[in-house]
Symmetry: C2
Amino acid sequence: MSAVEDRRAALRETLIDAAERRVEADGLASIRARDLAKEAGCSVGAIYNIFDDLDALILAVNLRTFAKMGTEIRQAMAEAGDVPPAQRMIVMANAYLDYASAHPRRWRTLFDFKMSTESDVPEWYLKALGELFELIATPLRELFPEAEPERIDMLTRGLFSSVHGIVLLGVESRISGVPRARLEEMIAFIITAASDATLN
Amino acid sequence: MSAVEDRRAALRETLIDAAERRVEADGLASIRARDLAKEAGCSVGAIYNIFDDLDALILAVNLRTFAKMGTEIRQAMAEAGDVPPAQRMIVMANAYLDYASAHPRRWRTLFDFKMSTESDVPEWYLKALGELFELIATPLRELFPEAEPERIDMLTRGLFSSVHGIVLLGVESRISGVPRARLEEMIAFIITAASDATLN
DNA sequence: CCGACGATATGAACACAGTTCAAAGGAGAC
DNA sequence: GTCTCCTTTGAACTGTGTTCATATCGTCGG
């Protein structure tokens, strides 16, 4: 733990903080090496001493976003207390919607970010997504105790994707004006419909 | 219809053709003014005589994509013949999935394109989306003849968003390996569940 | 304390985008 | 033929991310 490492670790945090603020305020496009360096009080080159490139920095911001979103979702579920599985999924989905509409630019950045070479999706990204999926799989297993794991996985991804799609539509087109209540209705409808379905 | 106008119209087509080929082959990022000019056999400046900026050109490509996708979806529905409404929606959704997986980069470009100033979403964009929605609303009205228009609208957007989300997940993560059959299963499940649901 | 050397940080310079605009080119009128 | 006005051109400008020769710093032997 040399002084050098400390300094670098501190700068690393400072840079992520600055990038986070910028993403929150103005979105991914406002991340510029020179501005970031100025805001963090370092040289442009310093950024590249710490991160391979700006994408790596954005990935770091996204990691934080994932963590915060996960925390909020878990908290919402905890607050909801002991409710039936379908209801629990609705609470989760609404928490997801809440996060996305409270931090639209941050949330967009999660997905805007181009997985440049499609092969090298960082494994922590998949891990974070996996944890999110597990939150959905649990109530699904309660709802469909007979279903084999593959089936549960399919349902999990399908429901996540569906809710994600609805949130996407909602966040994109704040202007096109789908009111918040409608989005919650859609979510509740889809989840309820899925929960009430009989597996073939 | 002067010679100038003819020339410009021809170049316009040539440019959109070139951009289309590039999007199809390498995605949005491969649209570069200089390359495009070379491919179309014109100067860089000429592009700006015809389009306000490259975004306008990409929008023109997207318009074509919308049209082609619409055609394929309608065709799939025509081929399916006279089937019950839920089945019709499944055919439609699968045609959507087909298009997206056959032309992933083109399809991505539809959504990657940043509506720069979020207010000025071109009205034809909304119109094209509206037509797509109408295709969904029709079977929904058959399924739920009692539902008021607002309700139908909500269901339409919700289902479209859900299917879109599933397709998005599928196309994004060709690598993460959700097999095609699974995606079709998810789609069928969601649509069937929604169709069988009772509106509160 | 000094000096020297390897590690580290710096920011000017580079590569490469989109976009502009002064200048060249060309079509038509007389 | 030449004058005028519109069109077209591509070098130049702006603004990115990224690099790398150079300067600076920290450490340690003398």
